[in-house]
Symmetry: C2
Subunit: 202 residues, 2 copies
């Protein structure tokens, strides 16, 4: 069999270059910027990625996946309330340890991508990206509240994702102060507790 020329740049090399550009902040990242950071030609980038959009979405997906692996390690915390608080705290901790990737998480939002403007080469990955995490969360939610309601899921979502992410977001790009973690824990506790009084409902 004939053998092809070996590649100088892997997919991940290119994604890493793009990540560096995104983290560097500045203006909107262009293919030329990525090529410069990569120290390679734009042709090699287009050889692997159909378009700039596909490249950027794949970068985002890779960061999301890496973020999520840390979450699964929290699955075996026995007390469910503790587990949920740990999930909340994982967000500022991950952002502090992986500043560049954390910045790249702000590139897209799943809801927007699903709505439209998403290259279908990556469409299915985008639509299933959260499935495993949702399954995990559902299980812990059931244990935490005794039963699973859409209300409970709402509180858990707010406590473990929305609030923590909202609290770190303004600090991305600079060192994340420890007060963010304290505020995250306090907010998560308080919001999770809202699900305990179901007497509000009819």
């Amino acid at each position: 069999m004939d053998v092809p020329r070996p590649a100088s740049y892997t997919d991940d090399d290119i994604l890493d270059a793009a990540l560096a550009c995104v983290a560097k902040g500045g203006r909107r990242v262009g293919i030329a910027d990525i090529a410069e950071q990569l120290n390679g030609p734009v042709g090699s980038i287009y050889h692997r990625f159909a378009s700039r959009d596909v490249l950027m979405v794949r970068l985002w997906l890779r960061s999301v996946a890496r973020f999520q692996t840390g979450l699964f390690e929290l699955a075996d915390i026995p007390d469910p309330h503790e587990a949920l608080r740990a999930m909340a705290l994982h967000i500022p901790q991950y952002c502090r340890m992986n500043q560049d990737e954390a910045t790249s998480l702000t590139l897209y939002r799943q809801s927007r991508l699903l709505l439209a403007e998403c290259p279908d080469e990556v469409g299915s990955a985008v639509s299933t990206m959260n499935d495993a995490v949702i399954a995990l969360t559902v299980e812990i939610t059931r244990r935490r509240y005794g039963r699973l309601t859409s209300d409970n899921q709402h509180w858990v979502n707010m406590a473990t994702r929305v609030a923590p992410y909202g609290l770190v977001r303004p600090f991305l790009g600079r060192p994340i102060p420890s007060q963010v973690d304290d505020a995250t824990a306090a907010a998560a506790d308080a919001i999770l507790r809202l699900g305990d009084d179901s007497h509000r409902m009819a």
Copy 2:
């Protein structure tokens, strides 16, 4: 004296058109989009705004100013903790009542604009936009904690701005559920309380 031709489009008309485009979401808003929404030519837009950047920043500044006027009405709540909680709750409430403007608040961040890339025609407005709100907040903070420390200011900032805004942000563009308000109040209370134990410090 000679009299000029009367204007068909005021500054605010143009900003309103831009606002509608931003709220409509879709892709990045261009001058052509705004002109179409305005039902006028691009020339009239450039007649009033030196550049797209100036226009968008002015839209953002107008939204921020409108948001802030609601805040000042809370100044005379006597109990400082109540006042701070009300400030926090003002954010989801404002976003619910003014969905389009709320979306336009996500256009820029003051910190980024000050750093660079800000047309100096609007630079001074950007740098002073928060002065009055900061003065108000400082006063309430002092009453809430007895004294003013940078730590206290941090907690107040997290409780009344960062957390509430982070909690609504993912819901912008669709109806904002009442749970956001409940979560905001709970989180604000919990975070403000963190400033009460100063025994942590040396």
